[in-house]
């Protein structure tokens, strides 16, 4: 297929799924321009692949809004490193995907431009915050899409939508051009229809970037070779991820996957990560604290729409621009983040959370040092939930991150892949690897993907 034909085809598919509200910006003209550019780009590892991009990654030819009114109409005057790298690898950058405002959420209900619908059941959420990217891959519009993870924002929607979602190690992929949310947690991540597609995209965009001081000077990631079995691989099953009250379908899907892993030759070993239950509260201190500072730059002075309230002075400008520009969840996080850093409370909350965070990271270090190659867990506590089900209670929404937050806090790579269905809704299994060992994780995932029937109902 020529690039021009592909551009037309992608345009048709965007139009077909318009009702799901997964895309914030796309135009045939921009797709055609991408195609023209590809015509003169040398063949690369991603030639012929169209990739949608979460709308919190800056591009220069489409707006970047972070699904927030505070960036309505903003088009970045510079481009993210990952975009430059994907284009150089021959990929077609195709459309900007909907998200929870500033990536804050687990359901993509918190977009200023309307919620994203689950492709299999429009009354349900696709997960979040990278819900738009997940839906574009799940519906076959594109074979791969970029999302961003701060605390599970790719793995969780991948599980809900029945696709592969990979969060690399913190520092594996440059954050330059990713609109910062929780800077010590943020990772540009990938959705793929298959493990192979996700791995190819990740390999093409990984590697140290002189523009991001938190990117790491490790050799770029390669697409792992396909293996036929899992002999010699030790897979840990952390008991904290299988509490007594775990949803029976989730438990059944995991047990089936674990059996498959064992049948393929892997050694299965129960392990313990004792600080797991503190991950979500830790996350909800560290993340809002960083977010409150990261979102201070949206002040109506240099870019974005401006509102000026009564008094007509600079404070009136700040208060009104930010008051009108940010939606409810963003406002909550800014307030919480400001509170946990404010005088008199910082030690009790922020400083303590950072200390607990190191304990959570130590848990992982310990099991991986103990001969475990990978951890296998459920990705989510439930299948896709109903829209509106958790929006009233922020803490309940935060608990949806319970199995994904720990790897984010520890910075280690983790991914979700489909392992079965419950009443038609996809369920995801999570693999967590040691720092910078995406290769083992992806190779094992690829074997599991071939041997698990992800469309089979797990409850007979």
């Amino acid at each position: 297929m020529t690039a021009r034909v592909l551009a037309r085809e992608i345009g048709r598919r965007f139009a077909d799924v318009a009702s799901l509200n997964a895309t914030l910006h796309w135009s045939q003209a921009v797709l055609d321009r991408e195609a023209a550019r590809l015509d003169v780009t040398p063949e690369g590892p991603l030639t012929g692949m169209a990739i949608a991009v979460k709308d919190n990654i800056v591009t220069t030819d489409e707006p970047t809004t972070c699904a927030s009114r505070i960036l309505t109409g903003y088009t970045s005057p510079f481009e993210a490193t990952v975009i430059t790298r994907l284009r150089a690898a021959g990929a077609m950058v195709a459309g900007k995907a909907n998200l929870d405002e500033f990536a804050m959420g687990s359901s993509t209900e918190h977009s200023a431009f309307g919620r994203v619908l689950h492709p299999l059941d429009p009354t349900r959420v696709p997960g979040g915050s990278s819900g738009g990217s997940a839906v574009l891959v799940a519906t076959g519009v594109v074979p791969a899409a970029l999302g961003s993870e701060t605390g599970g924002s790719v793995r969780q929607p991948a599980a809900f939508c029945g696709i592969v979602g990979v969060k690399p190690s913190y520092g594996r992929v440059s954050r330059f051009g990713l609109v910062a949310f929780g800077s010590s947690l943020d990772c540009i991540s990938v959705f793929g229809k298959t493990v192979q597609d996700a791995a190819r995209v990740l390999a093409a965009m990984s590697g140290v970037d002189p523009r991001d001081a938190t990117s790491r000077a490790e050799p770029p990631m390669a697409v792992p070779a396909t293996r036929s079995d899992l002999k010699g691989v030790v897979i840990g099953i952390p008991r904290e991820y299988f509490p007594a009250d775990l949803d029976p379908a989730i438990r059944a899907s995991c047990e089936r996957a674990i059996t498959t892993l064992r049948d393929l030759g892997a050694t299965i070993r129960e392990v313990s990560l004792p600080h797991t239950r503190y991950a979500v509260p830790t996350y909800y201190i560290v993340n809002p604290a960083e977010a409150a500072a990261n979102l201070a730059r949206f002040d109506g002075v240099r870019y974005g729409p401006r509102h000026v309230g009564p008094g007509a002075d600079v404070r009136a400008l700040y208060q009104a621009t930010r008051g009108e520009g940010f939606g409810p969840e963003v406002r909550r996080r800014i307030l919480v983040g400001t509170f946990v850093l404010s005088a008199g409370y910082a030690d009790q909350y922020y400083v303590r959370a950072q200390a607990v965070r190191t304990l959570i990271a130590d848990d992982f270090t310990r099991v991986f040092a103990d001969g475990v190659d990978l951890l296998f867990t459920p990705t989510t506590p439930t299948a896709a939930f109903k829209a509106g089900e958790k929006t009233a209670d922020p803490v309940q929404m935060y608990q949806a991150d319970i199995f994904v937050a720990p790897a984010s806090l520890a910075g280690v790579p983790a991914m979700s892949l489909p392992i079965g269905r419950d009443q038609g809704l996809p369920l995801g299994g999570q693999l967590i690897a040691r720092d910078f060992d995406e290769a083992t994780m992806l190779a094992v995932a690829e074997v599991l993907e071939r041997h698990v029937d992800a469309t089979a109902e797990v409850r007979a």
């Binding site: 005057p77 910062a180 800077s183 500072a293 730059r297 850093l341 910082a346 922020y350």
Partner: protein
């Protein structure tokens, strides 16, 4: 009973880097507004800071010059507050783990003689942009060219006891930083700024409530402002009022300090480590190499001028004030001039051009050649002073200029005899008085001979001839 004044200073200096602290934009001064800007210093969504190695090196050199211990692991933090010229809504600054701590600077107190002032810390941070309030009526115009410029903030202990000591401390710190090559330290160009904290107390009492004084645009004004603030506080206390913590600005025109309205959100900066920036780790070997690379500092240089070159204390002290002056002086000596003579020339004739332009107009080798022609009697000192400006504008050697201007000293006895005879003939009254015992008139006759010779006669040779003829 007397009052004791307690002063501490915060000095911000701009390390002399080509680019900003966290991005590759130029740090030029005076360009069109918002032209030296990029995604990083504009605080655009998605941009990230990457620190400048040269700013770290210069900060380290400065800290070493101030006797500080360098931290092997320092942390950049975010200082959160809103201001239109602060693009990110926070300033990246080192907070509880600064680059350097625990330094000491010896100063010459006008009241107490040599004293040590402690340096609490030196940390690196980024500057804000510039807000112009008078550019557009009723509006504030924001220029972000300066945003992100590196700064080293130097915080002293509360060790100064008078405005004069504050000024002496500033002078010393500035000198050290210029010597170490850290910064130009120009208040006019904004590469050095000072904020002062001042309190008063009865001697022996605990520290009083301090106020902060800002907006002082010269060292002299720092002294004036602190004097005004000291008077204000003492007057309050003597009226039985309490001093309140406040920030004041100095008005150089009226000599008064005026309290600013206090910010409503005062001082809850919510510092936390910047997650975009891993720890700054400097290894011991690197720090040692910087220490070794530190140029000779003013105190050492002054001692050498006195002890090795034999200069009087005044000369040594004056020459080291500005490192360029000292460097120039050394080049003149290097080119062969006697140190004391070189010092006289550098602090004399050569200072005119320096004071006007900040540069020396005559190459050191040429000044040394001029000094040599005085020493060997080719020209008189007076003639040399006439030759000096010519050295700046022409390429000729001093001897050639002396020839061209007819300033080579006449030592030919025949010519000298002629001028002496003329002078004696022209002043019979003075000759009579001299012969009558008024010996002081010898100076008059020498002057007359010099005049008649148009300054060319060698005065050392006139005197014996005059003495002989007058004695006849």
């Amino acid at each position: 009973m007397t009052w004791e004044t307690v002063i501490g200073l915060e000095i911000h200096v701009q390390p002399a880097t080509r680019t900003k602290m966290f991005c590759g934009c130029a740090t030029s001064y005076g360009d069109a507004p918002n032209t030296n800007v990029c995604p990083v210093c504009l605080g655009l969504p998605g941009a990230l800071p990457v620190p400048n190695a040269e700013a770290v090196r210069l900060g380290t050199l400065g800290a070493l010059a101030l006797g500080c211990a360098i931290r092997e692991r320092s942390i950049f933090a975010r200082k959160n507050y809103f201001y239109p010229d602060l693009p990110k809504g926070y300033q990246i600054s080192q907070f509880d783990k600064p680059l350097a701590e625990d330094g000491v600077v010896r100063i010459e107190s006008p009241e107490r003689g040599p004293i040590d002032i402690s340096i609490t810390r030196l940390h690196l941070e980024e500057d804000a942009g510039k807000s112009l309030h008078d550019r557009l009526p009723g509006l504030t115009a924001v220029d972000l060219n300066r945003a992100g410029t590196p700064l080293a903030e130097i915080v002293s202990g509360p060790d100064m006891r008078s405005p004069g000591e504050a000024r002496a401390y500033l002078t010393t710190v500035r000198q050290l930083l210029i010597y170490a090559g850290v910064s130009e330290c120009s208040m006019e160009k904004g590469s050095l700024r000072v904020d002062a904290n001042l309190s008063v107390r009865r001697p022996g009492d605990p520290l009083g409530t301090k106020t902060e004084v800002k907006n002082m645009n010269s060292f002299a004004n720092v002294e004036r402002a602190l004097e005004a603030e000291r008077e204000r506080q003492i007057a309050m206390l003597e009226r039985g009022e309490a001093v309140t913590q406040v920030t004041l600005t100095f008005n150089a025109a009226t000599g008064e300090v005026k309290p600013l309205r206090s910010k409503e959100n005062s001082h809850d900066y919510r510092y936390f480590p910047d997650p975009d920036l891993p720890p700054l780790v400097l290894d011991e070997a690197w720090i040692a190499a910087q220490r070794a690379a530190l140029p000779e500092l003013p105190a050492a240089r002054r001692a050498r001028y006195q002890n090795v070159l034999g200069l009087p204390e005044y000369d040594a002290r004056t020459l080291i004030q500005e490192p360029q002056v000292a460097t120039y002086f050394e080049a003149v000596v290097q080119a062969g001039a006697d140190p004391k003579t070189a010092s006289n020339w550098v602090l004399g004739e050569a200072m005119g051009a320096w004071n006007e332009t900040g540069a020396f107009s005559v190459a050191p080798e040429r000044l040394a050649a001029l000094v040599a022609s005085v020493a060997d009697g080719t020209v008189s000192l007076q003639a040399a002073k006439r030759i000096f400006p010519e050295l700046a504008t022409s390429e000729e050697l001093p001897r050639a200029i002396a020839d061209r201007l007819g300033l080579v000293q006449v030592r030919d006895t025949g010519a000298l005899e002629g001028w002496v005879a003329d002078v004696i003939a022209a002043h019979p009254d003075e000759v009579a008085r001299f012969r009558g015992g008024d010996a002081r008139l010898i100076g008059f006759f020498v002057g007359q001979v010099m005049k008649r010779s148009m300054g060319k006669a060698d005065p050392k040779r006139i005197q014996p001839i005059l003495a002989a003829r007058l004695a006849e």
